[in-house]
C-alpha cells in the first residue's frame, strides 16, 4: 500500500470547509472504519439570528452538515490518504450526494456535540456512513445514513 495513515489532526487540517461553514472543532479518533469528532456551536453562529429570532435553535440542516463533515468528509480524507496519499486527499473534494436522517433533540447555542461515524462502504470514491450525534450528556440528538462522492478539484 502506498497510502498513509493520517493522524486526526492531519485529517482536520486537510478539511476544505472553513468558518463560518466548518462544524468540526476536533477529530478525536479515526481508523478508516470509525471516526469520532466534536463541535461546540458558538453563541454567535450566523444562522441563529434567523433561526429563530429571539429563540435560537440550531437548524437540522446544520446538524446534518456537522454529521457529514465528520462522518463523510473527514472520513473520506482519511480513506483517500490511506488508499493513495495525503497529496491525493488534498486534490479531491467530497460532495454530498444523499442522506436519510432523523432529528430527535434540539441543540442550543453553546452546546457541544460529539459525532460518531461508521463506514458502511467505500467504493469508487463513494463513501456511505452511518453517523450519530450526541449531546454532552450522551443523549442521541440526530442520526443519518449519508453518502458523499469524491470529485477531483477542477
Amino acid at each position: 500500500m502506498v497510502g498513509v495513515r493520517l493522524t486526526p489532526a492531519q485529517v482536520l487540517e486537510l478539511m476544505p470547509q472553513q468558518r463560518p461553514f466548518r462544524f468540526v472543532d476536533e477529530i478525536l479518533d479515526v481508523d478508516g472504519q470509525r471516526i469520532t469528532g466534536r463541535y461546540t456551536f458558538r453563541e454567535d453562529e450566523w444562522f441563529y439570528a434567523g433561526h429563530f429570532p429571539g429563540r435560537p435553535i440550531t437548524p437540522g440542516v446544520i446538524l446534518l452538515e456537522s454529521m457529514c463533515q465528520v462522518g463523510v468528509v473527514a472520513m473520506g480524507i482519511y480513506l483517500f490518504a490511506l488508499e493513495r496519499s495525503a497529496e491525493e486527499a488534498r486534490a479531491w473534494t467530497t460532495l454530498f450526494v444523499e442522506a436519510e436522517s432523523e432529528f430527535l433533540k434540539s441543540v442550543l447555542p453553546g452546546e457541544t456535540v460529539t459525532i460518531r461515524g461508521e463506514r458502511i462502504f467505500w467504493r469508487r470514491n463513494k463513501l456511505r456512513a452511518r453517523i450519530e450525534m450526541f449531546a454532552a450528556d450522551g443523549t442521541l440528538v440526530a442520526q443519518t445514513t449519508a453518502s458523499g462522492l469524491g470529485v477531483r478539484n477542477g
Partner: protein
C-alpha cells in the same frame, strides 16, 4: 441464466433510482442508465453493489465503467455468471 431473466432482475435493481419513469416503462437493451433513465451517476456505485449481491459476482472498476446501457449490464452479468469451461 438467460437474457430475459437477467434483464428483469437488473430492471428491478435499478427501479428505485430511476427519475424518468416514462423512459423506464419502455426500457430496452439500448436504454442508457444515466442519460435516459435519469439515474444520478452517484447511484451507480449502489447499483454495482446490488449487482454483486444479487448475482454473487465481483465487478471490478473497469467492468463497471463499461456499463452504460441496460444491455451492457445484461452482458456483463451473463459473462460473469457463465460457468467456467
Amino acid at each position: 441464466m438467460d437474457t430475459t431473466t437477467a434483464f428483469g432482475k437488473i430492471v428491478g435493481i435499478i427501479k428505485p433510482f430511476v427519475k424518468n419513469t416514462t423512459a423506464f416503462g419502455t426500457a430496452t437493451d439500448g436504454t442508457r442508465i444515466i442519460e435516459d433513465l435519469g439515474v444520478n451517476s452517484a447511484r451507480l456505485v449502489d447499483i454495482i453493489l446490488a449487482f454483486e449481491d444479487e448475482f454473487g459476482i465481483e465487478v471490478d472498476d473497469e467492468s463497471a465503467d463499461r456499463v452504460r446501457t441496460l444491455g451492457d449490464a445484461v452482458q456483463m452479468i451473463l459473462q460473469k455468471t457463465a460457468p467456467a469451461h
